[in-house]
Amino acid sequence: MLPQNDSRVAAATPAAAPGPLFPFVLQLADTSLILAHRLSEWCGHGPVLEQDLAMANIALDLLGEARSYYQYAAELEGQGRTEDDLAYLRSAVEYRNPLLVEQPNNDFAHTILRQFLFDNFHYHLLKALLTCPDTQLAAIAEKSVKEASYHLKWSSEWVIRLGDGTPESRQRLEKAIATLWRFGEELTTATPSEKALQELGVLPDYATLLPAMQAHTAYVFAEATLPLPGPVFGQQGGKTGRHTEHLGYLLSELQYMQRTYPGLTW
């Protein structure tokens, strides 16, 4: 819950909307932060030490990327909010991450499949943003795409290992597909602010990312000996603030320190 007497709550709803770039950069920031938090929940609980470290490392990369976006978003907004205000003092309905990344870790297979769906989009989006006319977004993409490619390699290899592994690992991955596939579509479905940016030529039309994403998925699933899932009804809403119940619980953990001790600094 937001403390009602906190003066920063008023600043959470800026009077003048600062254009479509701000909500989009915030969406990128929220997406990387929430997934980083989910992955960091594995720290100390991974199935083996190496993969525990892998998830913590990926979480760290995403957290660093999220900071770059939050700093840029704060600058774009120009209302005096800092990167910390944006990350720690907004409520669940103000978060703009797609539903996929807030889904619980469940078992390792669910975490891997969630990561694969995200990485496949993230990598191809960042590649397209390398030529973005907004130089700051292009610079962040240039930095992060190298990391994202490494993540995609990791999650792709694990989809193959689990799918083409033991009956147990395969069955768990199939269950993860049945649970999470419906959240993939939101990643490439443009919100009004994304559409505005696409019309301005700042963002690529997501349809142009799909062939490479689908080709990679088809390749990985063939290697994993898994049939490609057919069309499902896509669950959407996170990017416009309509979240699953999981996000509130996640934020209560993530924002605990700032909510308990407002203004606390390191």
């Binding site: 190496e50 993969q51 470290l53 892998a54 490392n57 990926i58 760290l60 990369d61 995403l62 957290l63 660093g64 990327e65 900071r67 770059s68 130089t135 292009a138 610079a139 962040i140 240039e142 930095k143 992060s144 190298k146 990391e147 490619s149 490494y150 995609l152 390699k153 990791w154 792709s156 290899e157 193959i160 990679h216 990985v220 290697e223």
Partner: protein, 169 residues
Amino acid sequence: MVTAAAPTEAHIWQLLEEVSDPEVPVLSILDLGIVRAVAVAGDQITVTITPTYSGCPAMNVIATEIRLRLLAEGYSNVVIHNQLSPAWTTDWMSQAGREKLEAYGIAPPVDGTATGHVLNLFGKDTAVRCPVCKSTHTHLVSQFGSTACKAHYQCDDCLEPFDYFKCHN
């Protein structure tokens, strides 16, 4: 008490050579290739650095250590500028740095072998040399190691497990 003479760029570069990477203390930040520029204007010194990995926690420590090192010479007007583009690559690591890394027990990056970018699944960086017995019969244990910049390898000849400073380009 040290009184500051007018700073020169050459002197600042010399001082930066003494600042080490907190996670790989054998490397100076110049060896690592993260200092992109030094500019002196009057008594103001601007040091431009670039992060190795987006979330590298060493970056804040490095910025503090640069300030402290320059302050010890009496230079207090220091601006640290963080620059993302062009993005850091292991190609910027100095030859001296590579030799120091290997002597320290970490295999240096093998240029041009980054496997992440081309998505070559189950591929490994080629010809990673064991820092102990120098054999190139090594295998990848895990893509992710003790810090963001390292992967975990093992030597097939002497069996030594070792960190490999990943090729990142």
